[in-house]
């Protein structure tokens, strides 16, 4: 008997996606297709709500489980607290992306809105399945579902040169990195004779260290670091982030990265956490993390295009999150999970304003944000709060997030890395404030106000509220993250 509860959120997402494709067939070509938007939105919302039912502590009392980890196929997939937390982030990011999609496609017309939504939900399902994968084949195929859908989403505006370029670059480099990853996996399988991550750990711990294991490890780090755009595997990020439709950029910057970190935690903290290999990948990660923080922040400074700037910023953010990843243990994991949550709201708040502004002005240049404060006070506030939070300025959530991350890193002896992180957080203020300065200080060239719907307004307010609240009172999400982290330790 298969325990369907294990992958209930994915089932909901996939059914929604297929429903969208079918419903669209029956719509007149002239219709506004608002029904498929509602289906996509409600489907994702249902998947998100079912997470709380699966966690066994639903506020509405509708519990599907008693809070124990659900598993199926001999434990090949297991939805524990950690997976539920990652799924929550991914589904929240998907909801944000859907909201942006509706606004984005007002000006960037596409004849295929249903296909876009369906592929977006497929890729969310892939990311979501990835977080419960306990063995490397499931992990790989879920990751491919996510990335192949992402290539398609990035190149979706097929009349647009930038989108084509983004899709092509992403596809070529992504396929290469997937090949590296798979190659590494094949050596791991050859050495251990199993694909289950916990069994891999047992088998690797029993045998003497071999150069092949090290080789496999390097391949896996390289392949996965590409997906979360850690330097020096970050070359694709700015181009893809700039060229892809903005909602897709937002999705990539949060959902893809979250899924990548989920894979990292499962593979490295569980599977490759053996005495002979651990120092090697820890060393690799320390270097990757430092390089991402330094390169991402420095290269962001001269950027003129806000999406490109956010691309470099996301490289640096991945570097910060990786410092938490180095602090193996409940403390590091809690910090990592907390920071991803904070990053979600700050980053997606900025992306939502990018979509709204681009919808009105048609521009993504930073200089065209001049006087946003006058044109829409809310956008000015969101830009200020979210960007300062990304930079890690108190009292916003980014500060407490970085506090926990660097604290965890220092407790494990990575003081130098934390110092680099803090130094370059100050550097990052420079380019984040550049945008905020344009929005708040410079006089507007065109003072016409920027309208937005009630839903967008409330979501933007939510981003600000979450970012400010978690800065002064991080307890609720910290508790959630701690509970999630405890499922691994």
């Amino acid at each position: 008997m298969i325990n369907y509860l294990t992958f209930l959120p994915e089932i909901i997402l996939v059914c929604t996606a297929i429903l969208i494709l079918v419903v669209e067939l029956f719509q007149a070509p002239s219709s506004k297709r608002s029904s498929i938007r509602w289906i996509a939105f409600l489907g994702t919302l249902a998947a998100l709500l079912c997470l709380s039912c699966l966690s066994g502590s639903c506020p509405l009392g509708c519990n599907l489980t008693d809070g124990t980890a659900q598993q199926a196929f001999n434990g090949f997939i297991k939805t524990d607290g950690l997976a539920l937390y990652f799924k929550m982030i991914i589904l929240l990011a998907t909801l944000f992306t859907l909201l942006m999609t509706y606004r984005h496609f007002e000006t960037h017309k596409t004849p295929y809105p249903a296909e876009f939504l369906a592929i977006l939900l497929f890729s969310a399902a892939g990311a979501s399945a990835l977080t419960s994968a306990q063995e490397i084949i499931t992990l790989y195929i879920a990751l491919e579902t996510l990335t192949i859908s992402s290539y398609l989403l990035a190149s979706f505006m097929k009349k647009d040169k930038g989108s084509n370029e983004a899709g092509m670059k992403y596809l070529l480099l992504g396929a290469f990195s997937s090949a590296l990853l798979l190659f590494g996996f094949s050596y791991i399988y050859g050495l251990t004779g199993t694909t289950v991550i916990t069994e891999i750990a047992k088998s690797l711990a029993m045998q003497p260290s071999s150069p092949l294991a090290v080789f496999a490890l390097i391949l896996v780090v390289g392949g996965l670091a590409f997906k979360i755009s850690l330097a020096p595997f970050h070359m694709w990020t700015p181009d893809v982030y700039e060229g892809a439709p903005t909602p897709v950029t937002a999705f990539l910057s949060v959902a893809s990265k979250t899924a990548g970190f989920a894979a990292f935690v499962r593979l490295f903290w569980v599977g490759l956490n053996v005495p002979s290999l651990q120092p090697i990948w820890m060393g690799l990660f320390a270097v990757l993390s430092a390089m991402s923080i330094i390169l991402g922040n420095l290269e962001a400074i001269p950027q003129k295009n806000i999406k490109r700037l956010m691309g470099y910023s996301s490289i640096a953010q991945a570097g910060y999150i990786a410092t938490g990843f180095l602090a193996i243990g409940p403390m590091g994991l809690t910090a990592l999970l907390f920071y991803i949550f904070v990053y979600l709201f700050a980053n997606l708040g900025v992306f939502l304003t990018i979509v709204i502004v681009a919808n009105k002005t048609g521009s993504e240049q930073i200089e065209d944000y001049a006087g946003m404060w006058k044109r829409s006070p809310l956008i000015g506030i969101v830009l200020l709060v979210c960007l300062l939070s990304l930079a890690g300025v108190p009292p916003f959530a980014g500060f407490s997030g970085k506090w926990y991350l660097f604290g965890a890193a220092i407790s494990k002896g990575y003081t130098w890395l934390a110092l680099i992180g803090m130094t370059f957080s100050v550097v990052s203020l420079f380019y984040y404030l550049q945008v905020a300065k344009q929005a708040l200080v410079v006089a507007p060239k065109d003072p016409s106000p920027i309208e937005m719907s009630l839903l967008e307004r409330s979501v933007l307010i939510l981003c600000v509220v979450v970012t400010v609240t978690l800065g002064v009172w991080p307890r609720p999400i910290m508790d959630l993250a701690q509970a999630a982290a405890s499922s691994l330790f």
Partner: protein, 167 residues
Amino acid sequence: MLEAVVFYILAAALLGFGLLVITRTNPIASALSMVGAFGALAALYALLQATLIAIIQILVYAGGIMVLVIFVIMLLNLHEEDLKPMKARAGTVLLSLLAVFGLVLGPVFLAVFPKGNWKWAALTNDFGSIFTVGEKVFSDYLFPFEMLSLLLLAAIVGALVLSKRKL
């Protein structure tokens, strides 16, 4: 003894076809040499008693993939003047050889001439047989197997959207 003879014949055929693939200027000739290379590789798999892989190699690569490749070549409709021989620069060749040796052959050498006392995981008797693989795919690995259909569906929908002029 006989096995070694067959191996060397097949290996020579594989290398020969492989060289033909990259030295022919006519893409159809290259593609057909690739079919030969795939066939030799399938025979090598069969020699290792990996029957399922051998069959898949023929069905998927020599069959499906090659049809696609030839389709694309025909759609491109290349003319004589497009097919000038490519000039190979010594540096490029050297770099690609280095990359191949580092990435692929390096570990193979490590595996064939091992240092230290590690070894590959032991295989069961029926490893890789159609029966075992089928049983695994439809029991333990059912979830990734079904996930693949999702991946293909997303890819098909995306390919349609990206390639079709009017839908």
